[in-house]
Subunit: 303 residues, 2 copies
């Protein structure tokens, strides 16, 4: 019987709940952690959010999201740095060391940071489709943010996104690429998240999870399923574990073998799930976690 000691439900999974409701649901469910999106914090203001979190007794497992570092122009780059510094301070105030970074898409197509579903319009620029250049800009902005993150004790957690979002959300598409980006920086400053939805298909996944573990870079293990057919809005094609195509046994085993034994966060964007009663969502997440995820996160003893 699971104690759910390590399960954390991200507010994006119960998107329509307020921060207060999400905290209450997690406490009632016997959880010790919660994952937060910045939109829920902004709804009540940072100060109130900090108070609510403290009163709940929950530990914030991560704050989502910083990033959007691919702007080609000086004004866009300055705005991105300012927004990420604000996110780092919010994370610190909320008591988490982990800020999840969605690095941004091609300048011509990237959505803006903010709400779960992005929003905002991109305008065409010279070289706006050059993904090699966009990736270089991510490396450049990351280097500029690292000192600030170190100073405040917050880790920039790079999230490789599924390649179907490479143009509009993240030119960071694989765990190997994330580890290459992280390599020049201290492990306290730059980590990676293994999100099953985004990386399950990667032929080098086992090897790159092992590499991430050996380098001390795994900051979070996020789980949800990849549903088929892909939802009409491709962003919302996530599902409860077990409803899609992902083999949680293999990936969980690889994460455990890599030495990760931290919090497991469940983050699901799915219109149908958003429309369910919150308590039903939480119960289903707990049941699927206990059945499909947790049993594989035990590190086998050698010999």
């Amino acid at each position: 019987m699971s104690t759910f000691e390590k399960l954390s439900i991200n507010t994006a999974t119960i998107k329509k709940a307020s921060l207060a409701e999400a905290l209450e649901l997690s406490v009632a469910a016997g959880l010790k952690h919660i994952g937060l999106w910045r939109d829920k914090v902004a709804e009540v203001g940072l100060e109130t959010a900090v108070e609510l979190v403290k009163a709940s007794g929950l530990q914030v497992s991560s704050l989502c999201r910083g990033g959007f570092l691919t702007a080609a122009d000086g004004a866009g780059q300055a705005a991105a740095l300012a927004d990420n510094k604000a996110a780092i301070l919010e994370a610190k105030a909320l008591g988490t060391t982990e800020i999840i970074m969605v690095v941004g898409g091609l300048p011509d197509f990237s959505v803006s940071p903010g709400a779960v579903d992005g929003g905002g319009e991109a305008t065409a620029v010279a070289g706006g489709k050059d993904i090699v250049l966009a990736r270089q800009r991510v490396a450049d902005r990351l280097a500029e943010l690292v000192p600030f993150a170190l100073e405040h004790g917050v880790r920039l957690v790079l999230e490789p996104l599924h390649p179907m979002y490479a143009a509009d959300r993240a030119v960071l598409s694989t765990l190997g690429q994330a580890l290459d980006l992280a390599a020049p920086h201290p492990v306290e400053a730059v980590g990676v998240v293994v999100d099953t939805f985004h990386v399950w298909w990667d032929p080098s996944l086992r090897e790159q999870i092992a590499r991430a573990g050996a380098a001390g870079r795994i900051a979070s293990y996020q789980v949800c399923d990849f549903n088929l057919p892909i939802a009409a809005d491709a962003l919302l094609s996530r599902g409860f574990m077990g409803d899609g195509v992902i083999d949680f046994a293999s990936i969980g085993q690889w994460v455990a073998e890599a030495g990760y034994n931290g919090v497991v966060e469940v983050e699901i964007f799915n219109e149908d799930i958003w429309n369910l009663p919150y308590a039903q969502v939480v119960d289903t997440v707990k049941a699927r976690y206990a059945e499909l995820v947790e049993p594989h996160l035990v590190r086998e003893l050698a010999g």
Copy 2:
């Protein structure tokens, strides 16, 4: 001014045209090649298809598609081998050395070979979500097909598909993975196709295209764009070059640097394009090819 010497339009781009119509359109457009799907061949029967192709004077640049090699059961595996041998013989009869291989998805989710849009239902099997196992089965079936392909002078052309199709169409997701699969076999027997739609996002694309060229494995360069937002049916999110997010300048240059100077095939699955008058589709393909693709396929002279 382009002579369109190397442009080939795949019948999937004008899906509703008959084989005879597609041949006639290509000839009228001044093209020298055509790419064929097996459904168009099946509609008239192989013998008639061979006659029509001969009468047109066109060279078949590739036949699409073989593959679907991931069945977990003996009957499914035997059926796949039989179907692929038939495809090899069809390719040979039609005068092309290239049979494009879509390797198949996870056993629990893979569509069946056949029409452009797949079809058929998968049933759950033990280990049916294990992508590592499914990939091993592809390697095993490929090894079984190589002698037959060599005997008939037809090359099995591995097509990495975009990771959003990893579960239902191809567990082969990157060019690097395709080259690893090809490596044990003679270059005359196993090649790879670089299809911009599927690989544009890959952080190791330049390096893997160079590797493919050095190994003599590039059998085809296929171009179309990746449209955003992703179409409600994700299979149909392809677009005319220039309508989506892909940087054809960079990829074309990498392909040219890798030494490829063969046919460029345009294969677009898109409901809106399928509903346009065929001649308008052909004209648009030619214009976009001449503007966005061909200029970058010139190999720069060193020094």
